[in-house]
Symmetry: C2
Subunit: 479 residues, 2 copies
């Protein structure tokens, strides 16, 4: 479509659609503006048709689009009403899942050993060594290759793990309950940054730290959490948003709040003081410690939103390092997957973009609950770590409002004059606006055994959302 404007100084044209038309005007000396616009569904007629069918209609409350609107309203009400509390620390994953055996949990959608990315393979090898199921790296790899261990996704255990997200039987886990709805969520514990299992490192230093987490950190945190009797994670997250965190890739303020909360009961806890000092020292030196708690808080929040009939709200975004998968409240347990993209960001000295692995980890659960990329406006300091400007950080949150359903007044963003955080990503809006969710993330080396090499920002692939829209349209066509 083109609009021609006859002005004093000649013909001006504003063109929407084929760019060649704009060129043909400018080549002949005319003025032409090419509008940066694409039809919903990226010119895919069946997708555009599906979207149109899924749109709400104020005059027809019985149409499927209107039913979706009602379901989505319920979904965002549940997000706002969530009360994720850290209620306990389980010393071993098997205490929570007695049947876990030799199953290795991992981030993202299911994936076979020979398809796994380097950092996930590295983490699997590390977990096998840590559990003592193999003595050498080579032995562990061979056993994994022969299929001696089962794999399962964290999400189906009610769990979330950052990056490779590998959780095995002996690893301790945080136990989180959404007090409003009664559902549980779990995550492993932060190892710090650099050479760590979740980024694919698996040397002796990594294994030793995992053992210290099991034997020192977890029992100490269990003592503290039980003494407190439960810790309100969203209150910490909300306060952290006022203190420069987006509570995904920056957790400096949330970690300090957590440390303050546990330091009080640990001050006069009975028993040996050494482990308590080591625990406080470890957390004080690890500003991302709270990430796993932010994730399990987000998981507890979003699981209570899953399974609402007709609902088009995203309840999980998870990446296995090869694909990014999206789950939708009204579409069951199916992952809508597309190839993970490369984050754009800053690299640690000595590493470059071509060293990086595509987007990885369950941590994008944070974005679905309103943190991370959704609340990037709260975290100007993060742009120092991932690149970009403060204005861009604020811009990302503004974009997220375009593809979400409501504003969560419980999470306010100072730099947007305390507006509530974007709440409830709607697959219809993502596709209709052609705007993909913004996710803040760490960057793993693509080879097993190296670890974290940077941090950045990534978009979830549009393919996840177009597939989900088609699936929702198909599921509802019979209604």
């Amino acid at each position: 479509m083109s609009v021609a404007l006859l002005e004093q100084d000649g013909l001006s044209v504003m063109n929407v659609g084929l760019e060649s038309f704009t060129r043909s005007v400018t080549e002949r000396g005319g003025q032409a503006l090419q509008l940066d616009w694409q039809p919903p569904g990226d010119a895919d007629a069946s997708l555009a048709w599906a979207l149109a069918n899924l749109a709400g209609d104020a005059d027809d409350p019985q149409c499927i689009g209107s039913k979706i609107d009602v379901a989505n309203k319920e979904a965002v009400e549940r997000i706002v009403a969530a009360q994720p509390m850290l209620v306990d620390v389980a010393l071993h994953a098997r205490d929570v899942w007695p049947d876990i055996g030799r199953t290795l949990l991992h981030a993202g959608a299911p994936i076979a050993w020979d398809k796994m990315c380097g950092p996930m393979r590295g983490a699997m090898v590390g977990a096998v060594l840590y559990e003592g199921w193999a003595d050498t790296e080579a032995q562990a790899e061979a056993m994994l290759g022969r299929g001696e261990f089962k794999f399962a996704q964290c999400h189906d255990y009610g769990a979330v793990g950052p990056m490779a997200g590998v959780i095995s039987s002996s690893m301790p886990v945080f136990v989180v309950r959404n007090e409003t709805f009664g559902n549980m969520a779990y995550s492993n514990m932060s190892e710090g940054i650099g050479r760590v299992l979740r980024f694919g490192a698996n040397g002796q230093d990594v294994i030793d730290r995992l053992r210290w987490i099991e034997n020192v950190l977890a029992p100490t945190l269990q003592t503290a959490v039980r003494a407190i009797g439960g810790l309100d994670l969203r209150a910490i997250q909300a306060q952290a948003l006022l203190m420069g965190d987006e509570v995904h890739s920056r957790n400096a303020a949330a970690t300090l709040q957590f440390l303050a909360a546990i330091s009080v009961p640990l001050a006069d806890a009975p028993g040996d003081r050494g482990p308590i000092r080591e625990t406080l020292e470890f957390i004080a030196g690890n500003s991302q410690f709270f990430l796993n708690l932010s994730m399990s808080s987000s998981k507890a929040t979003m699981d209570a939103v899953h399974g609402i009939e007709n609902c088009s709200i995203v309840t999980a975004i998870a990446r296995n390092g090869v694909t990014t998968g999206v789950r939708v409240s009204g579409l069951g347990k199916q992952w809508f997957q597309a190839a993970s993209e490369m984050p754009e960001g800053l690299y640690f000295p000595g590493f470059v973009a071509t060293d990086g692995n595509p987007d990885l980890g369950d941590s994008a659960i944070c974005e679905t609950a309103g943190y991370g990329g959704s609340s990037l406006a709260a975290s100007p300091a993060l742009v120092q770590l991932v690149g970009g400007t403060v204005a861009q950080a604020v811009g990302y949150s503004r974009e997220m409002y375009e593809i979400t359903t409501a504003r969560n007044a419980a999470l306010s963003l100072p730099n947007l004059d305390f507006a509530g955080a974007p709440c409830g990503i709607d697959i219809r809006k993502v596709v209709d606006n052609g705007m993909r969710p913004v996710v803040t993330t760490g960057i793993a080396h693509k080879q097993a055994g190296v670890g974290q090499i940077g941090a950045g920002i990534v978009r979830s692939p549009m393919g996840c959302f177009t597939q989900a829209v088609m699936a929702l349209a198909q599921a509802k066509s019979a209604c």
Copy 2:
């Protein structure tokens, strides 16, 4: 001065100066714009002349203005180079000042008992009761009225105290050393908010808390600080500016960092665990705890800047609740004073603006070192406490750039794309631009015995700066 512009549609006038001229044009149907401008020195010819004489001149390095520019450059280099470290906790003020006896230190410039504001009188009564020098409030007041105690200003003891700033012999003090220049600074300890001595409250609860600070908090903090071997206060302040504090009226992030730092050595400190738990609990519940450390850090920074010949940089702003006093590096110990103004802000439920006392306390030392109003851009969350918008908060810092000498790269402000904080308030610029320093502050009830009733923002009176400019011009006229 007026500029007449002849345009197609008649006469337009832009007027600078007497507003009556603008009116005379508009009353006759003409268009006239009155420019909002005042001559430097607010139309005081001798002040304007003094300012002109103090201005730098690139072509004449021997003129006094150029010498001032050189001195000011030295001053801001000292501010940037400062390394204020918390090196110890003195259990009693008399350990630092053996001759303090019954002298009562207070905030701001010297002031007699019968001229003191309500909250300062209330705090004096409380200090006398706390020291056991009187048994009842009435007795204490009578003794104070009879002149049985000496008064002295905190600043002349190298100390700073928030609000009334009363420090007496038995009160513990923080001991801060500027490692770059070797000078020392001191402050008392935060009691929390509400009914507290520094805001003029003096009930039994207040006295009991002061005793707890002396007997529990101070010894515990002494143990922690000695175990750490010194704590880098500016590193905490710089990080806090990235976390939503301006480190004067908001110290939430700085306090958490301080708590994290002391919780580690206290975890396995020898002795009774009870006092350690009480200490951590008190600080965790008092987000303004770090204020007194921010003040003594600022005092240690600015005392090293005082006494530079020809220097026109402000080294202290201090309010005794009646007057605001300003000290200037090159003008000795003289306070340039004018009546304190009322802060504008928000009041706790049950209180209104007419209950408030004029601006009070030594805490504006923070602004002279680049914190508080100078760095308000860093603290959008503070506007929730003091009123206003985020854009206004950023605007205050932009204003402070107009009256300061440099940007302190060690203190970066995220919302100004990480620009360094305004550094070195120049009395010449304050008067020349007609822009008064912005100070964030608590608000005390004007009556003795009540306490804090709100928080807000205040400007230091122009009279302090015009007097200082005249004094500098006079002192240098013989050169």
